[in-house]
């Protein structure tokens, strides 16, 4: 008899991360990063930042979703039932963002300072926030996966997206975009600290939720996911960017190369976080077994 553990022990979800599921991981992360960058760009009024965030959501996120679907030509069916689930609402937010931000970009380019531009900035900003947050709700409403069943998840995803947004804003600033690098760095610093604390609280509460939640946490810290967790999330996503951020705070002048390295680490950290969250999601055994 073939040996495996389907629904007898801890059973990982595979559909949304393994094989083609990788595209869903990319789509989820691109939504957070693009939405976060748009919000940060609104703050700095950086047209380049808004344009890049539009590209991330419309092109990378959109394409990744379509590639993932089993029947991509039927994708329009998703948007007609917004009351059904967060996935339907999320795709509506994405479409709304793509339309509102495109109009806003055109208005900012050709008719800057008009009331209409402000209206579309507000609309696109709300849609960007919704794009950043909805993936957290898609996961945390799944009762069957205790590791995801946490109200902290949407918050974690939003903050992680805005953190990535601040990082990309630094790069845009370094390349002559309309971004105050010192402010963007300060934003990164604070969010890095808050994110690190939130990750600790998230894992702590997940580990105390149920046996399966604890197994998911252990899988990340000591199991197969440990390299991604410790290298990707902890070292690249938190420690190195934090070290660079604080050295720039105390030493004042930090080389552009180091700043870019810090941002690259932040992006890898964000990807690793989404990867671990998706990969460690698991179901309870079908039957409670003694022993």
């Amino acid at each position: 008899m073939e040996i495996h553990e389907w629904m007898i022990n801890y059973t990982r979800q595979t559909e949304w991360i393994d094989r083609r599921g990788i595209f869903l991981w990319i789509a989820f992360y691109a939504g957070g990063l693009g939405g976060g960058l748009y919000l940060v760009s609104l703050y700095f009024n950086s047209l380049w930042g808004m344009f890049i965030s539009w590209l991330i959501i419309a092109v990378i996120k959109g394409a990744a979703h379509l590639i993932y679907l089993g029947k991509p030509l039927r994708f329009w069916r998703i948007v007609f039932r917004p009351n059904s689930s967060w996935l339907a609402r999320g795709i509506i937010f994405v479409l709304a963002f793509v339309v509102f931000a495109a109009v806003q970009l055109a208005l900012s380019f050709w008719l800057p300072g008009t009331a209409l531009e402000i209206v579309f900035k507000v609309l696109a900003g709300m849609a960007a926030l919704a794009v950043t947050v909805y993936t957290g709700f898609v996961l945390n409403t799944v009762k069957a996966v205790p590791f995801w069943n946490s109200t902290l998840l949407p918050l974690l995803f939003v903050l992680c997206g805005i953190l990535g947004g601040f990082g990309l804003a630094v790069i845009i600033g370094l390349n002559g975009g309309n971004v105050n690098i010192a402010v963007a760095e300060a934003g990164s610093r604070w969010l890095l600290i808050i994110n690190a604390l939130l990750i600790v609280v998230y894992l702590w509460t997940a580990a105390n939720r149920e046996t399966t939640g604890k197994k998911s946490v252990m899988e990340q810290m000591r199991g197969n996911l440990a390299p991604v967790f410790w290298v990707g999330i902890v070292a690249l996503g938190i420690v190195i960017p934090l070290a660079i951020a604080f050295s720039s705070y105390f030493v004042s002048e930090v080389s552009s190369a180091l700043l870019v390295t810090g941002v690259a680490c932040e992006v890898i950290g964000g990807l690793a976080l989404r990867y671990c969250v998706l990969k460690a999601g698991a179901y309870k055994p079908l039957v409670a077994i003694a022993g």
Binding site: H4, M7, E15, W16, L69, G70, R74, R77, L87, G291
Partner: protein, 241 residues
């Protein structure tokens, strides 16, 4: 009316006939099985293998229905959770939401034919005409809804008349599977569940499954001679997916 099933684990002889019957009835591709026999090994001095036969529970508060963004997964009036294959976009949210993991996404590699790259059997050719499976969509057990509908149209009674009864129930040589109307207190299935304390899997999810299991020691073979439950240790040995 609410169709339901009782799986009597004290009767099941672990023969896989239900799994085979479903494959034949629905011309299932080799990479997919709607019902599954999940097996585990009980530890102790004389380990035994125990199994439980699982399939979609046709939950009355089904999370898969709740999350489906297209409405492809829906609940029929008789309680069966059905999938409209022409509406499914293959997002797999329903698979993620099912606490029992009873759904399968039909990907290309699961549909490569019985003898990939060699010959297409007459059985497979017939299947293409009689029961179309769409690669890129999600599938699961539907309690043989097509048999129930055709049987009812002829005035037959599901669970009583073979022609209107799910294929796995008809095939089970140990009569471990019983099918019928859960809303009818006099039906065989309702009586069995009541008399033998049938229970649902994971009631804490509030899904209200229509499949009940009978056996106070679910997961353990009744032939196991380990008396002290606390001494039982299990190790997975195999499962059909």
């Amino acid at each position: 009316m609410r169709w339901g099933m009782a799986v009597d684990l004290t009767q099941c002889i672990r023969c896989y006939a239900c799994v085979a019957a479903c494959r034949i009835e629905h011309f299932l591709p080799m990479g997919m099985s709607w019902p599954r026999l999940v097996a585990m090994e009980t530890g102790g001095d004389s380990p035994t293998v125990s199994t439980y036969s699982v399939r979609c529970n046709q939950c009355q508060d089904a999370p898969c229905v709740e999350v489906c963004p297209t409405g492809a997964t829906y609940q029929r009036e008789d309680g069966i959770i059905a999938i409209d294959q022409d509406k499914c976009v293959g997002c797999r949210y329903c698979i993620i939401a099912c606490p029992y993991q009873n759904r399968t996404f039909l990907s290309k590699d699961k549909n490569q034919g019985f003898f990939p790259g060699r010959v297409e059997t007459d059985f497979e050719k017939a299947g293409k005409k009689l029961y179309r499976h769409q690669v890129g969509t999600t599938e699961k057990c539907n309690f043989c809804a097509e048999r129930i509908d055709a049987g009812l149209a002829k005035g037959l009674k599901p669970g009583v008349d073979r022609e209107a009864t799910p294929a796995c129930v008809n095939t089970c040589p140990a009569q471990a599977l019983t099918f019928g109307d859960l809303d009818d207190p006099d039906s065989e299935v309702s009586r069995l569940i009541k008399e033998k304390n049938g229970f649902q899997l994971h009631p804490e999810y509030d899904t209200n499954p229509s499949v009940y299991f009978i056996d106070g020691k679910i997961g353990f073979s009744e032939t196991s001679n380990i008396k002290d439950d606390s001494k039982r240790e299990t190790a997975p040995t195999g499962a059909e997916r």
